[in-house]
């Protein structure tokens, strides 16, 4: 591998890692901070992707906007969905044990998949990237790199910075962290913990949906797409240290590098390398790279 190829592969790794972080970011909130094992996270990602596909023509017709307007319409819808789901289902789960959380969120996966099948069918669909970002830049003598992928990376960095800032530096973030470590005490101090959790959950769903919408132009939308990202998201959150945004970012990048170079150098074992990485890190640091912030 010459230097140019090596550098392009590094770019691939970083880019994939950042995308992983974006997809896993919502899970960091819901699983990492709120402590709910949320198997339906992949479904929220899928819902986002299908929104990018299904809302686009509606938005085009009614307001005349493109991809970015669709994003602006989709995010509030996802927040609303998260808010309602928390109110109807998840708010009953905090006190329950993990098995019940797994059961209910698994049930939600089935419900969302079936709804998707009924409403939008089982076909594979493409989503066009916005015209502004549809170009590509030359890289080496044969290859080009789609500008849209760089845009995804930029969004991921912005989300990571935003999440870190809100959770570590703001009053809201402080309350969320306090609620995560001692729910009753926070309640006793007069904070409406139910509302707080509802908001955090809604934001977590919105982040997953945002990831789906942003990823849709490169991944295309297809049945079962949520299941594919779910496991890798849990890997990222667990490696990073449950509840740590910094950890999740670092873990996502690590997984990106291991996956990219694993495919190149050890194609025979590429499927398991990420899990070997997780096992190794958990042996070394059983709580993940960073303890909860």
């Amino acid at each position: 591998m010459d230097l140019a190829t090596f550098l392009i592969q590094c770019l691939n790794a970083v880019q994939y890692g950042l995308l992983l972080f974006l997809v896993a970011s919502g899970l960091t909130l819901i699983f990492g901070i709120m402590g709910v094992i949320n198997l339906a996270h992949g479904s929220f990602y899928m819902i986002g992707a299908y929104m990018a596909y299904a809302l686009a023509p509606l938005v085009e017709r009614s307001v005349g906007g493109g991809f970015f307007v669709t994003l602006l319409v989709g995010i509030p819808l996802a927040v609303l969905l998260g808010y309602v789901l928390e109110w109807l289902f998840f708010s009953y789960l905090y006190e329950r044990d993990h098995l019940q959380q797994v059961l209910m969120t698994y049930g939600l996966i089935l419900v969302f998949e079936e709804l998707r099948s009924i409403l939008l069918g089982d076909e594979v669909h493409g989503v066009a990237p916005p015209a502004l970002l549809a170009g590509s830049i030359p890289l080496g003598d044969l290859m080009t790199y789609p500008v849209y992928r760089l845009f995804i990376s930029a969004v991921c960095i912005a989300v990571a910075a935003g999440m870190y800032f809100v959770i570590a530096r703001t009053r809201l973030g402080m309350r969320v962290r306090a609620g995560a470590s001692n729910r009753e005490m926070v309640q006793a101090l007069g904070l409406n913990i139910r509302l707080l959790y509802r908001i955090v959950f809604a934001v977590g769903v919105a982040l997953a949906a945002l990831a789906g919408m942003i990823a849709a132009p490169v991944s295309s939308v297809y049945p079962g797409m949520g299941g594919q990202v779910l496991i890798i998201c849990f890997v990222v959150v667990v490696i990073g240290g449950i509840g740590s945004v910094r950890g999740a970012l670092l873990a996502a990048l690590l997984v990106g590098f291991v996956d990219t170079f694993g495919k190149v150098f050890f194609p025979e074992a590429a499927g398991v390398l990420v899990y070997v990485l997780m096992a190794a890190i958990l042996l070394w640091k059983p709580e993940g790279l960073f303890k909860a912030a």
């Binding site: 591998m1 010459d2 190829t5 392009i8 592969q9 691939n12 790794a13 880019q15 994939y16 998949e113 079936e114 099948s117 069918g121 089982d122 076909e123 594979v124 669909h125 493409g126 066009a128 590509s136 030359p138 080496g140 044969l142 290859m143 080009t144 790199y145 789609p146 992928r149 490169v218 991944s219 295309s220 297809y222 049945p223 079962g224 797409m225 594919q228 996956d259 990219t260 170079f261 495919k263 190149v264 194609p267 025979e268 590429a270 499927g271």
Partner: protein
Amino acid sequence: MQRRHALATLAAAALLSLAGGANAQAAKIKVGFMLPYTGTFAALGNAIENGFRLYVEEQGGKLGGREIEFVKVDDESDPAKATDNVNKLIKRDSVDVIIGTVHSGVAMAMAKAAKDSGTILIVPNAGADAVTGPMCAPNIFRSSFSNWQPAFAMGEVAAKRGHKKAITITWKYAAGEESVNGFKEAFEKNGGQIVKQLTLPFPNVEFQALLTEIAAAKPDAVYSFFAGGGAVKFVKDYAGAGLNKSIPLYGPGFLTDGTLEAQGDAAQGMLTTLHYADGLNTPRDNAFRLAYAKSYKLQPDVYAVQGYDAAQMLGIGLTAVKGDVSKKAEFATAIEKAKIDSPRGAFTISKAHNPVQDIYLRKVEGKVNQVSGVAAKGLADPARGCRM
């Protein structure tokens, strides 16, 4: 009102059971669909069932003089559940015939169960070479293709187009490896050379690292095997990486079948090989397409054709034994001797029970895989490992 309705239902049920008891010979043939109705391949499963039902309806709901009754199992394309699912059909529902499935891993489990129980199995898609290779049996048939067939045809095409060095890329699973091997066999026989075989774990769709490897190796051509969402993403990523401008991308038809709307411009001009194509424009195909579109308000695809032909094969076999499925040997002989009048063009069934058929070369034009010639005429799978 409700009471009267209930009475009528009861009476009807009594009549039905009487009729059943009076004439066991006229009992319905039980056909069990074991197809994916959920997950990535759900659309394929539905197309196969639609095609099958269309032929049965055209025959007035009867094959070989007996009415057909359907039961369905969703196989979820999950090999881990395949044995349980197929046993539901064989043991619980005691079906006479099984139709399924799309996923090769699931189909292998089905073939094993069918081999053990002797139930007639017609595979309407799954291309695993082994189904009509080492697993072949007198009661197992396939109405679709073997992975080897379109791949071998494409290997010849690529070599004849003057390509010398090719890279192959696929998921690391049986279907992908069989397809790549078929391509390699024909490509190297005709003077080409495979310089690198790239794989990634199924169903991973993060192709960027391997595309970078392709760009660094600069082959004359790339052969790839992907399907469904993976096919869409691969073709788009390949174009996104700018490789389609300098290195032509080939593959079996699944790379561009049912996916063109999603692939958009990225797939334009691509050449693929398959046993079906758009624009065949034969009276048989036109009639089929019209009937299918009328019945289902959908355009048929290759999967619908395979389902339709599975029903035709069953019809031929049942007619020969006058609806008596216990006469397995005569059933099989009839199908082996038959010429199946498929929308894809007439084909015959090999000794190993795989179609001997023309493989078309197709070119992506707009939203269709337009036929541009025959890549291999009357191509028969070598049926390696079949002892029958």
